[in-house]
């Protein structure tokens, strides 16, 4: 080994380790990237919350860019993101479908009545099976689905102003153009 190696090698190893740790500082270990991004949205046929005799299927949403927002009346962080969803629906930006996850219908309806209903349709996933199909592991989660029915983005945790401005809204605009 040459003399230069004697100090450059430990330095390089040190810098590499610091680099890994530094990147790790800003990553949330609770965010597990979804393998479903870029794949067709898992099909469902679910009862509508406000019209139990009617169903909504993923096929009904073909040709539209839409959001699937997983929510529940028992979910604390849903309250945080809810005003943003209401605002999005007021601006008529995109069709939002609500997946009322492992909730009681009455509680869900009361929750929407009190806070405003941003959803074009809310569907009922009482036993959480559709949630499992979509890889949901916490509430809220929000998926962006394109016109071909492919999942393009997943927001884990509440939708934030930052996420809307930087990712979700630009993505929706781009997908709606195509």
């Amino acid at each position: 080994m040459t003399r230069a190696w004697k100090w450059t090698l430990p330095l390089a190893v040190f810098v590499a380790i610091v680099g890994f740790l530094y990147v790790g500082l800003f990553r949330d270990p609770r965010e597990v990237p979804s393998p479903l991004i870029g794949k067709p949205a898992p099909a469902f046929a679910l009862h509508q919350l406000h019209a139990p005799d009617k169903t909504l299927t993923t096929a009904d949403m073909r040709g539209k860019v839409w959001l699937l927002n997983v929510w529940a009346s028992w979910c604390e962080s849903c309250r945080v993101e809810h005003p943003l969803l209401v605002e999005m629906s007021r601006q008529n930006l995109v069709t939002i479908v609500g997946l009322n996850y492992k909730d009681k219908d009455d509680l869900g309806k009361a929750w929407l009545a009190a806070r405003g209903d941003p959803y074009a349709v809310s569907v009922v996933d009482a036993d959480g099976r559709v949630g499992i199909d979509w890889g949901v592991y916490g509430v809220p989660e929000t998926f962006v689905v394109d016109k071909q029915g492919v999942i393009r983005y997943k927001q884990i945790g509440p939708v934030t102003v930052d996420a809307l401005q930087k990712k979700i809204v630009p993505l929706i605009r781009e997908l709606q153009k195509s």
């Binding site: 270990p29 609770r30 597990v32 393998p35 036993d127 099976r129 499992i132 916490g138």
Partner: protein, 174 residues
């Protein structure tokens, strides 16, 4: 005679029933232990550092239900693992598969070990190095360099114009 035949028949029925029940229990036992083992190598996504078997999170309960139903429906362990990784990614597996994105994870430690061994060997077998562990190796070269460097340090303040002004002893001591 009739009553005797009757009792024999009953005994036979009872024996059969007991046998069937025992078989049922052992089949359940086999399924249970298979599920226990499988759930022990799957991660609960909510708690992250617990397995599906250990976790009481509602999602873990749902996933255990799902895994049990798949197993009862005759799916193999691999099919059940595939069901979960399609939805949640390799993160659910405590035993991640070897693929391009996990090469560093699988082979990194061995590469580090090999690099360390290589360095150890190089240092240990290079007789020209002072830290080679070979006392007979002359280290005069390094002594000479060290002496030269020391001399350079001594000379440096005087040769640099901005330090040319003498430093007062009180400042120097601080």
């Amino acid at each position: 005679m009739l009553s005797r035949g009757f009792s024999w028949r009953w005994t036979a029925i009872l024996l059969l029933a007991t046998g069937a029940a025992t078989a049922q229990v052992s089949a359940d036992g086999a399924l249970d232990s298979r599920l226990k083992r499988l759930e022990g190598e799957l991660r609960c996504l909510v708690c992250q550092n617990q397995t599906l078997a250990d976790s009481n999170a509602p999602l873990a309960e749902d996933l255990r239900r799902e895994v049990r139903e798949l197993a009862v429906a005759g799916k193999s362990d691999d099919q059940i693992r595939a069901f979960l990784t399609e939805r949640y990614g390799d993160f659910v597996l405590y035993n991640p598969p070897v693929k391009r994105t996990t090469w560093l994870l699988w082979f990194g430690p061995f590469i580090l070990l090999a690099a360390g061994a290589l360095m150890w060997w190089r240092i240990g077998t290079n007789p020209s190095r002072p830290d080679s562990g070979a006392p007979e190796a002359p280290s005069r070269d390094d002594d000479a360099t060290a002496a030269a460097r020391g001399q350079a340090l001594l000379d440096a303040p005087l040769s640099e114009p901005r330090r040319a002004a003498p430093v007062s002893p009180s400042t120097a001591r601080r």
